[in-house]
């Protein structure tokens, strides 16, 4: 398979050979990191993180990944307000200028499709670090890596996707990867007004994936191998009242966590608000902090793949 230049969508990452390569590389990075024997393959190279929408964790994760590989970082956290964007500079011009300084760009934008448009004109590799309600491919890859690591990559996996499925782009990015598992069964659990968009439902149907929709968590608790819960994001709602009305509908506390299968895992892209009670953190099923750490190693593997 031809080497990818940009990472824009999960649909570029469906190749199992490529996934395997990246997973092996990520595992190696994790080992070397723990042993403090990381080599510095990207020494002298620079990553620019251009974030038109704040996401401190994603940005820090990319920057840590680059620095652990020996590279340097240029960062524009509030690109929307603080950079030339505020003066009306187009994103295209920004990419052209910044690619003159940086060897790779991680772009977060509030509009769906922004990363794809930017990649078209970027002479250096560009990674989509989230575009509006579109995609977040590096997160999705890290999520699949986590599932493989924790559950051994099974046939017949039962996955419950819970919460905001309408706007949750981590879910949108994860779905095509989940569909690769033979016999996967997906429970879509959300309030009626936050159901998975029709185009993703159609994708599941086309793939012949067994799925069911529900507005209640109940039935999924005992059967799920993976419970992936998403934050109901305040900024996605038109009015505070609308947000308040549904924000606490799907909360995982110890009582629910203990009802899950012994080897089930609870995932969350973080930060959480109150979807998962802090008491769950010490439950062995709580995989979300490990998931965040895995994302670091996946981003290291991707940066190394794109640049080395």
């Amino acid at each position: 398979m031809q080497k990818l230049k940009h990472i824009i969508s999960t649909t570029q990452l469906l190749n199992r050979k490529l996934q395997e390569h990246l997973f092996v590389s990520a595992a190696q990075m994790e080992r070397d990191d723990a042993q403090r024997t990381l080599s510095r393959p990207l020494s002298g190279r620079i990553l620019a993180t251009i974030f038109y929408e704040p996401s401190t964790r994603t940005r820090l994760s990319f920057e840590a990944a680059m620095q652990k590989l020996g590279g340097g970082v240029l960062t524009a956290e509030n690109a929307r307000d603080s950079s030339s964007a505020a003066k009306g500079e187009s994103i295209a011009d920004a990419i052209r200028v910044i690619s003159g300084y940086a060897d790779v760009i991680a772009l977060r934008h509030y509009e769906e499709g922004a990363a794809k448009a930017a990649a078209k004109i970027s002479p250096v590799p560009l990674i989509n670090a989230g575009d509006g309600i579109g995609e977040h491919p590096t997160q999705a890859l890290a999520d699949i890596y986590t599932i493989e690591k924790e559950l051994g990559g099974r046939d017949g996996l039962r996955v419950a996707l819970v919460g905001d499925l309408l706007y949750g782009r981590t879910i949108h990015s994860l779905l095509p990867l989940l569909c690769l598992y033979p016999g996967v069964q997906i429970d879509l659990v959300s309030p009626a007004q936050l159901r998975l968009p029709a185009k993703y439902i159609q994708h599941l149907e086309r793939q012949g994936v067994h799925f069911r929709e529900s507005d209640k968590l109940g039935a999924s608790i005992k059967s799920a191998d993976v419970i992936y819960i998403t934050r109901v994001q305040k900024e996605r709602f038109a009015s505070p009242q609308e947000y308040e009305a549904i924000k606490d509908v799907y909360v995982i506390d110890s009582k629910i966590a203990d009802k899950l299968k012994k080897h089930a895992i609870i995932m969350h892209a973080l930060p959480r608000v109150n979807e998962i009670a802090p008491e769950v953190d010490s439950n062995s099923r709580a995989a979300y902090f490990r998931q965040a750490k895995n994302a670091l190693y996946i981003r290291m593997a991707l940066l190394n793949y794109l640049l080395a």
Partner: protein, 418 residues
């Protein structure tokens, strides 16, 4: 057209998370599971009254063989493999306390060559001693804290920490007995009193400290004390990467069962503990705090046992011991699949050579075509004549297990266990 031969086994299948009636097809050319699906009434093996498990893995054995061959009168990789197959064990992990210990890349590779004659896959631990350094290869390590059999041990916590500091981030298994506490009790009247529970508990605290400080992937070997389990539980809750073994002897025997007749035969390190410890250990194995049944299979000749050498041979009885847990302690087939197959499979996965697919521990396409088929209706009366370990005795002689191993399948090759 493919001429590859297939082994098809149908029956009741138990993975760690699911039990179901099904069929398994193993491609005997690749040795991997190719297909898992519904029953069609055409099984190559009779499995009535049986449960089909993913092949069991024993993460703690002493096969005794090294390049010197000086311990081969007790066991070697061939007799060890025979004992494993008899016990339903499809892969083992061998400890490094040999006269020529695998402590560097060269010695490790030399010992690895010897394992080629073993039918069951052997993962080798590399030893950590006062003067050793990590290997270039990615391998699991073993640190013996206090004096045991062999030379790879430490005299103090300080000496151990100095050595472990070189092994940051590595996978390290610990034998938890504090050398100073052993030294202080060396003149006590019985073996059990000379190696008291406090030695294990102190050593556990220290091992957990090392695992945290040096970001190790830690494993505590042959765990035996109830009070120590609480510390492991707290460490797991804090997110430390630590797992824990328990042996059949610490789960089956306790010091209230010792008599003048069996005392020498049941001598091992760590020693048998009290009934409360044993009950706590069984509960911890069932609820997931203890991760593996690992035998600490330690063959010594009958003459050596009569002289008071520590260690017991247990590979031959691994599978039938699992049936005892099911019958006497209500372990489900899924519990057994977890502690005998899935968790050991996870442990060795990253160390396996190519050709074993996704590795051991699950009945799933892509995993090694190795199975343990337990017959729950045919008891196994343990006799000296029936065991296949070279040392030719068993601590379970005279005991009848409620079930037995009917078949051990190694990469599609069927071995009848009896």
């Amino acid at each position: 057209m493919s001429l590859a031969k297939k082994l098809r086994v149908e029956g009741r299948i138990a993975n760690y998370d699911r039990e179901f009636e099904g069929a398994i097809e193993i491609d005997t050319a690749t040795g991997l599971i190719e297909y898992v699906g519904p029953i069609e009434g055409r099984s190559d093996l009779p499995t009535d009254g049986c449960i089909i498990f993913p092949g069991f893995g024993d993460l703690h054995i002493h096969a005794r063989e090294d390049v010197s061959g000086s311990q081969c009168y007790k066991e070697d990789f061939v007799t060890n493999s025979n004992a494993a197959i008899h016990g339903g064990v499809v892969h083992v992990a061998d400890m490094p306390n040999n006269p020529v210990a695998p402590i560097d890349d060269e010695k490790y590779a030399a010992k690895e060559l010897l394992t080629q004659k073993s039918a069951v896959h052997v993962t080798l631990y590399a030893g950590i001693g006062p003067q050793t350094q990590p290997l270039k290869r990615h391998v699991p390590y073993k640190a013996f804290m206090g004096p045991s059999v062999g030379d790879l041990f430490f005299r103090s916590q300080e000496q151990l920490e100095t050595a472990i500091a070189n092994y940051r981030g590595r996978n390290v298994s610990f034998h938890c007995e504090d050398p100073e506490i052993l030294e202080a009790n060396k003149n006590a009247p019985t073996h059990e009193q000379r190696r008291p529970a406090s030695a294990e508990i102190t050593a556990t605290e220290f091992a957990l400290y090392l695992i945290e400080k040096y970001e190790l992937i830690g494993k505590l070997c042959h765990y035996s004390t109830g009070d120590g389990l609480k510390k492991i539980s707290a460490a797991k809750a804090r997110g430390l990467r630590v797992t824990c073994e328990a042996t059949p002897h610490h789960l089956f025997f306790d010091d209230s069962m010792l008599t003048e007749q069996n005392r020498l035969w049941l001598q091992m390190n760590p020693p048998l503990r009290g009934p409360k410890d044993r009950i706590a250990l069984i509960a911890a194995l069932k609820n997931g705090l203890v991760d593996y049944i690992a035998t600490d299979h330690a063959p010594h000749t009958i003459e050596e046992k009569l002289k008071g050498i520590s260690g017991v041979p247990l590979l031959d009885t691994y599978g039938s011991f699992a049936t005892w847990l099911m019958t006497e302690h209500n372990f489900t087939a899924r519990d057994i699949a977890r502690v005998c197959a899935y968790n050991p499979g996870l442990f060795v996965r990253e160390f396996l050579p190519a050709g074993l697919g996704k590795g051991f521990g699950l009945i799933e396409p892509g995993y090694a075509g190795s199975l343990t088929i337990l017959d729950l209706n045919t008891p196994y009366a343990v006799t000296r004549e029936s065991v296949r370990t070279k040392c030719a005795w068993s601590p379970f002689e005279g005991y009848t297990f409620p079930g037995s191993v009917r078949y051990t399948v190694l990469n599609g090759n069927v071995h009848q266990a009896s």
